[in-house]
Amino acid sequence: MHNKIEDIEVRLLLEAIHLKYHYDFRGYAMASIKRRLIQARDRFGCRTISMLQDLVLHDESILMELMGYLTVQVSELFRDPAYFKAIRETVVPHLKTYPSLKVWIAGCSTGEEVYSFAILFREEGLEDRTIFYATDINQDSLRKAEAGVYGLDRMRLFTENHRLSGGKSSLSDYYTAAYGAATFDKSLRKRIVFSDHSLVTDAVFAETQLVSCRNVLIYFNKDLQNRAIGLFRDSLSNRGFLGLGAKETLRFSSHVDGFAEFARDERLYQKREEA
């Protein structure tokens, strides 16, 4: 029975956050967000999630810290190199036929993915005709993304990922190392627009040719996934591309018929032409 009380408390807390701060986590996948809120409860020294609700309703600074539990920030440059290799080898030739390109990195977290795309597009000669939209709801993550500073200890992994993705240059060309940190070249940012955008509550803002949204939908329940994929579908031009995380699929989505599988193992989809 204890678990059922916690379910009630989690739903009330998410409702409270929505009413007070307009962040809407009510459609997030329950099993995972409940685990993270129990961790937050313990972190804030609360006996119950209801007590955490009391704290967050009356102190906005708690919300900022709680956002680190409500959203999950895990990323790497060129994470799943096979994904970027498939984009390089099979999607880029299509993109090269467009005079101008818009690419949406949805749920960009701390920016690793958008820098991966900026580097890949530079290597493939597409950067100058592209605008990247990097969006997230977590302001703290967006600030980190815009700064483009990562631990030097992560560069070995990032370099190996980049190489496996078919990288045509050396990753060290794109950052300067100092004091244990790698700062990515600000020239990579000149085509990137960082923006606060919610897949839960906001609308489409641009017509795009490629949307990459990886390991974001796993935190949504099915209804919310359908909403987000609907936004991508509306944003993409005919025969535009959608890339998902390695274990995400459109198979269980109401939009499954709106897309064709383009590279099955790499979870790349192509929007079907609309009548």
Binding site: R11, A29, M30, A31, S32, I218, N221, K247, E248
Partner: protein, 193 residues
């Protein structure tokens, strides 16, 4: 999220394994009939490796074997492996979720995460099995399975490749049945008939 859980009339099995786990699973999974209850497996493997474990077992098993996709409905006759570097969770509507949140006991996937969420979704209709391994993951999870009314089985530490995981589970769950590896499959299929 309509409060009707645990859903009645469907059962499931969750299995956790670590060091020595592939060998232990080989003594169980191939013996299950093709229409057996869904089996969810969390085995610790090095991250950043393309998992071949599902393919490995697909050839040996009568049940279908897949690496779990996010939001897949849990279906009888199927063995689901947690993908490397993701936690595998069970939702109340008996679908699967994945998560990249922090490792638990240095493990992602975590056996505790799978077992605890499955216990909430399946209640007394769940069997949890802890096999060979060299860490303590799974003990708290099996505790949750039993507390929710489910059944706990543990591989006998004597003869296991690594004893710490079964021993930790026994310490946390004295009421679980401790069986030699070769009797676990018989226990499962005997129950199914």
């Amino acid at each position: 999220m309509d409060g009707r859980y645990p859903l009645k009339g469907s059962r499931a099995v969750v299995i956790g394994a670590s060091a020595g786990g592939l060998q232990a699973l080989s003594a169980i999974l191939p013996h299950l009939p093709e229409d057996y209850d869904p089996v969810l497996v969390c085995i610790h493997l090095p991250p950043h490796k393309n998992s071949v474990v599902a393919e490995l077992f697909a050839d040996k098993c009568r049940m279908s074997v897949v690496e779990a996709d996010d939001k897949a409905p849990i279906e009888a006759g199927t063995i689901y492996f947690a993908p490397p570097d993701y936690h595998l969770l069970v939702e109340q509507d008996h679908s699967l979720s994945l998560s990249n949140e922090a490792p638990v006991y240095f493990s992602r996937p975590s056996i505790d995460v799978l077992f605890e969420t499955a216990a909430e979704a399946y209640g007394e209709d769940l069997t949890g099995i802890v096999l060979s391994g060299a860490n303590e993951d799974g003990a708290a999870g099996l505790r949750a399975v039993i507390d929710a009314g489910g059944r706990g089985l543990i591989q006998m530490p004597k003869g296991a490749y690594a004893r710490l995981m079964p021993e930790s589970a026994i310490a946390a769950c004295p009421e679980a049945r401790v069986l030699p590896l070769e009797q676990i499959a018989a226990e499962l299929t005997g129950d199914a008939s």
